[in-house]
C-alpha cells in the first residue's frame, strides 16, 4: 500500500538539531536588535535576519540531502 518497505522516512536525524539551532537563534531577538555592525548601509537588525534566511536554506538543504537515503523508495 505504501511501497517504502518498512523504512521510516520520518526517523529523527542529528541534522535536525541544526534546524532547531537555527530556530532558537531566531527567537533570541535582543541579540540582533541593534544597528552595529552595519553592512552595505544595512543596520544589523536587517542584514542579520536576511542573512539568516540564507543560512536556514543551507541548513535545510543539508538536512534534506543527508536524510535523502532514508526517503528513497526502493
Amino acid at each position: 500500500m505504501n511501497g517504502n518497505n518498512g523504512t521510516n522516512g520520518n526517523a529523527w536525524h542529528w541534522s535536525y538539531w541544526l534546524l532547531i539551532l537555527v530556530c532558537l537563534v531566531t527567537f533570541f531577538v535582543p541579540f540582533y536588535n541593534r544597528i552595529e555592525p552595519t553592512l552595505f548601509g544595512f543596520p544589523f537588525f536587517y542584514w542579520f535576519q536576511l542573512g539568516w534566511i540564507l543560512v536556514s536554506m543551507i541548513v535545510t538543504a543539508f538536512a534534506y540531502y543527508i536524510t535523502e537515503q532514508h526517503e528513497k523508495s526502493r
Binding site: 522516512g9 530556530c23 527567537f27 548601509g41 544595512f42 536576511l50 540564507l54 536556514s56 541548513v59 534534506y64
Partner: protein, 520 residues
Amino acid sequence: MPLNITALIVFVLFFALVTFVGFASVHWRRGDMDLLHEWGLAGGKFGTLITWFLIGGDIYTAYTFIAVPALAFGAAGGAIAFFAVPYTIIIYPFVFAVFPRLWSVSRARGYITSADFVRGRYGDRWLALAIAVTGILATMPYIALQLVGLEVVIAAMGVQLQGFLVYLPLIISFAILAAFDYFSGLRAPAAIAVIKDLMIYITVFAAVIVIPARVGGWETIFSSVPQERLLLPDNFGSYTGYATLFLGSAMALFLYPHSVTGILSSSSRHVIRRNAALLPAYSFLLGLIALLGFMALAAGVQQNPAYASGFSQFSNNFAVPALILDVFPGWFVGFAFAAIGIGALVPAAIMSIAAANLFTRNIYREFINPNCAPRVESQMAKSTSLVVKVGALLFIILLPQQYAIYLQLLGGIWIIQTFPTIIFGLYTRWLDPKALLVGWAVGMVLGTWMGASIGFRPIYPLEIFGMTIPAYVAIYSVLANFALAVALSAVFNASAKSRADETVPADYAAQGSGVGGMGH
C-alpha cells in the same frame, strides 16, 4: 490621480495573458474535472518546481506586497514589519519535518483536506467539522483582503469611475478568475503562479537596484526612518511581542486550507522536503518587500501632492504604489501593478478552491449527501468556490475595509486553534477527540474575546503574577486550548478511551505508490 494610459495598457495585456493561461491550463497534465481530486488538487501531480511556484504564489499575496511595506512605512510601524522574516525562517524547518507526514497519510488514505485527516485519525466527525468550519472562516477574510490589493493598484493607475462603477474592474477581474477556476481547478492558479512569481521577483529586484541608486544608497534609506522606529524598542514586552507574533504566525500559516492544498497537490514527499529548502527564497523577497516601505519614506512619497488623493483613500497601503509610480516609467508601472494584481488572483483562487474542498468533503459529503457520486462532489466544490468568491467580493464592496482587516486578524487566531488537533495528531493518538473539541472551542472564544478587547490588535498585554507579558493573542489562546485538551484527555483516557483511528503508523511515511483510494 491622472489616468496612466501606458501603465493601464500593459496591465490589461498581462491580465489577458493570465486569462488565456487560466483556461488553457485545463490541458496541463490533463485530468477528469469531474473528480474532486483532479479539480481540487490537480491530481496531486505537481513536482518540485511547480509546487515552489504554487506555494510561493499562495503564501506571498497581493495583500502581503501592500500591507507589509505599509506597516514599515506607517507611523505606528517600522522595524516590527520585519516580523515577516523570522516568521518565515522558522516555518520551513517545521514544514520539512512535519508536513511530509500529512502528505503521506493523506496519500495512503485518500484525504483531500486536513479535516479528512482529522476524521480518519480520530474517528470523530464533529471534531472534523470544527476543523473544517475554522478553515473556511479563517480563509474568507483573506480572500477579501486580496481584493484590497487589487483595488489599490487599479486606483493608482488613475482609473476613476463614478458611483457603483468604481467596483467594475474588481468585478471583472473576479469574474474572469471565477471562470477559469471553475473550468480548470487548481491547475489554473498553479500555471498563473509561475507568471506572477516571476513578475514579482523581477519587480522587487528592479526596485532594490533602481531605488537605492535613485535616492542615494541604503544609508539614506535607513536614515530616513525615524530613529525610534528603526529598531524594536529595547524592552522585555517588545521582545515577547515580536517573538510571539512570528511564532504564532508560523504555527498558523500551514494550517490554513490553502497551504494544505498546496502541500497535498505535490507529487511526493521529496517535493515537500526540497521545497522546505527552496521556498525561503520567497522569504528573502519578503524582507526586501518590507524594505520598500522604508524606500517609500526615503523617496518622500507622502509629501508629494501627486499622491495625496491615493494616501487619503488608502492610507499607508498606498506607500508601495506611490513608490512605484514615483520611480518607474509608465510601462514598468503597468508591469509591477499587474504583478500585484495577479498576485491577488492567484491566492484568491487557491483559497477559494481550498475552502470549497473543505465544504464539499467535510460538510456536504459528511453530513448532507453521503456517498454522493464523484461528479456531484466535484460539481458541489466548483459551485462552492464560486459562492466563496462572490461572498468575498460583496464583503469588500459593502463593508468598510477595516472589517476585513479585523477578521483577518481573528482568522489567524482561529486557525491556530486547529494546531493541537492536526499537528499533534500527526504524531500521536493520545489526545482525546472530545477533549480537543472542548480545547478548540475555548481557544476560539478566548482568542476572539482577547482580540476584540484590545481593538483587534495582535498583541495582548497579559497581566500575570504581577508582571505584564505582552504576547500575540493566538499564542495565549492556543496554549489555553492545548492545556485544556491535555487535561481533559487525561481524564477521558482514564475512563473510556476513544480508540477510533483508521490510520496505521506506516501511513505517515508512505511514499504514495499505493492505491490509496484517491477521489473515490
